[in-house]
Symmetry: none
Subunit: 198 residues, 4 copies
């Protein structure tokens, strides 16, 4: 990418980032089109390539940016060590709804990145995604898992939580405006039900 992108006004940077994020999040890498980005955020076709060289380059930048930004926010807003796992997990979802103020499609984009399986971007996605997953694991390790001591069981359980929450998130995006309150309520209910079992 062209480093001069960072010299643009913050506002314009975010307009472009949000435009690309929305289109990529909704359609995935392959089906996302430059024309749609033009329509969504009014920045001309040529400019995308002026700064990002190719569609792959743009996706690479966007994915790295989104993963880094999310990780930073998670670390900043949820850092009390030894927190109860379920509380931490809920706080993370609150955190996501806060990020939506700046980048409305970020949480959906994060999910879409993890599900992306287009050959053209596997390579560029590999490192940032690995680092994100590593940092995420580290963050989750600081939690207090109560009676859930066995490692294998914990992995299975947290996987369930993750998949469920992702599904709820996707559901939220199906409505015209993301229903933050309803989403958080739903997440809370699910977490509580599960905690009860232990």
């Amino acid at each position: 990418m062209n480093e001069k992108f960072y010299s643009l006004k913050k506002e314009k940077q975010d307009t472009m980032i949000n435009g690309a994020m929305e289109v990529f999040a909704k359609s995935g890498y392959r089906h996302a089109s430059t024309d749609e980005m033009v329509k969504v955020c009014g920045v001309s076709k040529g400019l995308w390539f002026h700064y990002f060289e190719s569609k792959t380059g743009l996706y690479s930048f966007m994915a790295s940016y989104a993963l880094k930004y999310a990780m930073l926010e998670f670390n900043m807003r949820t850092m009390k060590e030894g927190m109860d796992y379920f509380d931490l997990r809920y706080d993370m979802e609150i955190c996501k709804t806060i990020m939506m103020n700046k980048y409305p499609y970020l949480p959906l984009f994060l999910i879409s990145i993890c599900e992306e399986n287009d050959e053209d971007v596997q390579e560029v996605l590999k490192d940032p995604l690995a680092r994100y997953r590593e940092d995420m694991s580290e963050l989750m390790l600081t939690a207090d898992y109560g009676r859930l001591l066995d490692h294998e069981d914990r992995v299975l359980l947290t996987d369930m939580v993750d998949h469920t929450i992702d599904a709820l998130m996707k559901e939220g995006y199906r409505t015209a405006a993301f229903p933050k309150e309803r989403y958080l309520d739903s997440v809370r209910k699910h977490l509580r039900a599960l905690k009860k079992l232990l």
Copy 2:
């Protein structure tokens, strides 16, 4: 679709079904191309449109067919009422590996259908998918859930199981030939670990 498709020799029907299934399962609706189907199963481009009118029409037929066929097989091969949930779940996976004999990509296609989010097929997918999920729920209700009596908890748990199994299935398809034995072993291990918790 053109009903005359059913007048074709069963063999040719299945050639076409398997061709479309493979391409759709591997690439998803949008990225699947008519040319690839021609390449994969040697049936001419024109014939697809002769019988199915459009790509959407073909996908609609394929999805309905796959969902119905799978449901039928599940019902035929796993019907002992009051079976232990984890045993039933494992039997279903055995059932999938049996279906692979006739339709090698069917289990992957089922997953891909559930993850499909292309606007053009949301509409046609809605009803058959809803019916499939309903039938599936009904089937699963016949199981014996042991101590897992509360409904909400049960939903969350079975979701986890479903997501985990889907992930293992996808992994299996990444190798050249699907490793049935290894797959079933892995499923069994995961189910056992979970059962232990209850």
Copy 3:
């Protein structure tokens, strides 16, 4: 390229060949555009790629075809061994004007091929062009050079003839309809003047 091109009606093959030949001859590889070929010969954009895969592939086919066709015609129509060099050279130009009946831009295309210096086609041009030059040398060797016995001198002299004739040919194409009679007259005059010197 797709071998099925040869199964098309001869007439359509020649329509496409003439369309591509005209545009490539006039504009060279890089500046030639598919849109112009559509305009010139009414064959749709997609069909060029159906048969030739890429612009490079099309150029490669066209160049090979033109070089082979020209060489064949030269050999068929000018084969009397021991002919006087200047007569042979003139016969070749007659031969070119005859080829124009079938492929109006062939002689200009031959010149343009030899002057082509776009990187993308150097590779595919190398072999057919080398063979053409070799065959051409062989053909010219059968001529009777009279008093022009020294090899180096002969090369320089025939180069002059070639360059002059190419220039006259290019000039002819600048008018709306190629003026065959005037062209042949001009060639004859030049050749005679040179012969006189020896």
Copy 4:
């Protein structure tokens, strides 16, 4: 063009002239790109259009400049009347190698101008090129052609010389640094061989 170009420091003028000359000489009018000029000589995109209005305008200026400059140099450095034609022709090539000190790509650019056949610049090239050819003819008329008295024969012969020399020049530019000595040797050998014939 904007006359203020001449108010720039001579050094900057030549930087721009050399940048444009290199890119035009190497790629021809159409294929030459503004971006490459920026890369080659570090002068911003906007400035080219500030002084030259359009790509055509720039090419027009560059061609006129190159043709005038070359003609001036030829006249200044080779003016002894009644010189033997072959000696004069050789002196002109020496003259070209001297020009390379100031404008490394000038001789190649001169050739490329004569071969340029892009419609967009035919018009602007017409007059300066005609004048250059006229002046050149005049210059060549001062030479002593020895036994080559007939006008028509002389034209053909000198054409041959010109084409051969152009080819040698182009060959020289294919190496990383232009091999002046080798080039001049080669020209001398060719001229001598031809003179022998007369």
